[in-house]
């Protein structure tokens, strides 16, 4: 099977890779580009562990063909913290103990970033429905929701 050449940007960096047409973006991110911060929990779009931003829009990287990222901008968990340090969402997840095992955490943080970019002041219901595509089996969601609420408040003050 011949491979396709793809040029894209990952967290702002220009990136080129070869992939087969059926390879998914999560496979290429993890296995070809060594960005293993994006996790794979189901490969069917049901758990959200592989959440990334594709041209600013929240998607499951397991439901995107790698070839579709040609010319796109991909943001992964590795691109959330900045030169100044952790993103406030990351800080709040730590402060609120919003992670136990941590496998779902990268996906939650990327999804939360997308949420707060779109709805800077979400109420609890909006947060819960927005994050319904991210499964967490450890926390019962309580502390995650509180971390997101606190991050929203912090970001609103910064803005």
């Amino acid at each position: 099977m011949s491979k396709v050449h793809v040029t894209t940007r990952v967290n702002g960096d220009p990136v080129e890779f070869l992939c087969t047409p059926e390879q998914t973006l999560v496979d290429v991110l993890r296995d070809t580009l060594d960005r293993t911060g994006t996790k794979e929990g189901c490969s069917t779009g049901d758990c959200g562990a592989c959440s990334v931003l594709l041209n600013g829009r929240l998607v499951c990287a397991c439901l995107v063909l790698a070839v579709e990222s040609e010319g796109a901008e991909v943001t992964t968990i590795e691109g959330i913290a900045t030169e100044e340090g952790l993103h406030p969402i990351q800080e709040k997840f730590l402060e609120h103990a919003a992670l136990q095992c941590g496998i779902c955490t990268p996906g939650f943080i990327v999804a939360t970033k997308a949420l707060l970019d779109k709805h800077p002041e979400p109420d609890e219901e909006t947060i819960r429905y927005w994050l319904a595509g991210n499964l967490c089996r450890c926390t019962g969601y309580d502390k995650i929701i509180r971390a997101v609420q606190d991050a929203a408040t912090t970001l609103a003050h910064e803005a």
Partner: protein, 752 residues
Amino acid sequence: MAEATEFKAIGTRPVRPDGVDKVTGRAQFGADLNLPNMLYGKVLRSPHAHARIRRIDLDAARAMPGVHAVVSGADFPGAQHGEIGGEGGGDVADVAKNVMARDKVLYHGHPLAAVAATSQAIAEAALAAIEVEYEVLTPVLDLEAAMAPDAVLVNENCFTKNLPEPAEKPSNIASVMTLARGNVDEGFELADVIVEGEYRIPMAHQGYIEPHACTATVNESGQATVWTCTQGHFALRTQTANILDMSVADLKFIASEIGGGFGGKTVVYLEPVAVMLSTQARRPVKMVMSREEVFRASGPAAGSCAKIRVGAKKDGTITAATAWLAYEAGAFEGAPMGPGAMCVFAPYDLENFRVEGFDVLVNKPKVAAYRAPGAPQSMHAMESALDDLARELNMDPIDLRLKNAVAEGSQAAYGPKFPAIGFRECLEAAKAHPNYQKPVPEGAGRGVAAGFWFNAGMESSAEVHINEDGTVQIIEGSPDIGGSRASMALMAAETLGVPYEKIRVLVGDTEASGFNNVTGGSRTTFATGMAVIQACEDIIAQCKDRAAKTWGVDADQVEWEDGQAIPAPGVNAELKPLTLAEIMKTAARTGGPILGRAALNARGPGAGFSVNFGDLKVDRETGKVDVLSFTAIQDAGKAIHPAYVEGQMQGGAVQGLGWALNEEYIFDGNGVLENPGFLDYRIPVASDMPMIDTQIIEVPNPSHPFGVRGVGETPIVAPLAVAANAVRDAIGRRVHDLPLSPPNVLAAIEEG
């Protein structure tokens, strides 16, 4: 000790030591390791739930370019029977056959061959090239069919254990047990009211988000290194060694970060296979389960049938209780019949009771531990029956439980006398809780239930190294599944009197750390924590000795306070205290590096009790159940890091509610799991749940220096009956079986 103490570090909520790596994507989980020259391993799984393997032909697969190893059951040594320790449980030979079938496949998804190839695509093609001839047998798919006198046998060599007389013919009932006290017939005669019911719960899965994954590399001298996501790398090393007939010295197991386990990552599935493949290929082999493989062929929780009968006097005093508990073990013995039977009446002080347990083989995956294994199933039945009893007696359900609750000195139904426990405190806290005082919302019902788990002790080791600048390195061997590094650091900070920020915690591999049993049984903070505390005490003793040498005084003239050696009161008052850093500066002269250690088998884990209640609303036209509010109250003994204790309570509550409401293994008539994915195996999502209110009760465990009790497992127990009792309250009828899925609830509403 365990009297009320002022703590400095314990009880605070610092950021966990591994936190930053886990919010930035740096932390390495099971599937995150890629090695140079690595191959991809894949497993061929049975398409039948029950079949004899007539022939396997691996030649075509072996001949394919890019395929470097192909193995089947015949390549594995015949494992000897023997007990596998720890929460994983079971017989070594059974686990060996579960990892790779020999003559028979016993469930749909049972592994029977594996390959390693240069790409996943080639590995999949190689699996397709393996030819297998099966003699398909009738599958045994439920408890009734399995326990019937003329049942098809899952295992022709299974003779029921623990019968009064040895079994004469084979059966699907692998073992039975009985627990009894007093005379139940007399007890029921004294009863004014008797309630009874039969309750069924289907198999459910732990639902950890990270699939099983491991990478193995074996060198030419037979030394193997295995990276794996597990609750216990020492336990998996032992299991792998037994299955492959290797010395543990030739197996180095490294625990990656672990993406959830809940009991399901205490046994081997891939590891021995990866070692075999790597041995054959002489290259590293990585194996990662798909989500579908996880559901079909890891270790779900046992399905169950429970029959309960409880009699009581008008004042609520229980006069007698009986429980008949059958658990589906899956394809090999080892259902959690024992703990289920021991927990069912544990919260109550009963004079007359009888519990019968059955461990039953069926052609489904071999069950594994799932958070308080066995207890949610049996206690759902008992706590539902008590709810019925409270209604019959017109008593508040908390008052009924208070009337019969065990306390310090009570003889537990499972044997020992309870030391200090917090059950009554939990019940009283529930009764006084503002959420319990609130009226039940319109259209909703309220359910109350209690939960219990013994908690475990077992083996742990820890070392504490003092770095040259006085900072502290802890090395232990319990995988951190929910913040245990933070707990270890807090207990060390408290013991040594140094700030939390100066402490680092390593979960060492099997070559770097002393033996630690699995992170399971709610034992880690209790037992590994105790090892850390003792290792810190060892450090303190050595530091006092070093200070004495420095000062030229006797060691008994030195005391330890706030992280410093100080002169004992009244003598040598002119001496300046020595901090850890100062002691380390001169350590080379006073005896060299300072290293503390402890290895123990922790006793007296301290039973964990809980009381939960919640308001659930039922849509009477569709049967849909919504959780409006939920309150979890639990005795933690002493909460080391309260946020992670609350997290255990909240997470367990939601797992229990998921099991109660929508989670179930659905098999077709051929024993094929119909819902092997998160789409139709419906674990709760964020929008399904309210905030989970928590209240931590602290009745210190007398066996632990800080009073710790395990907290990980009790939280899943009560929510099943809370949901069932709330739905009963809302619709006026009891739905005995779980899940309380809309079709089941709607059917119950319409019968009424």
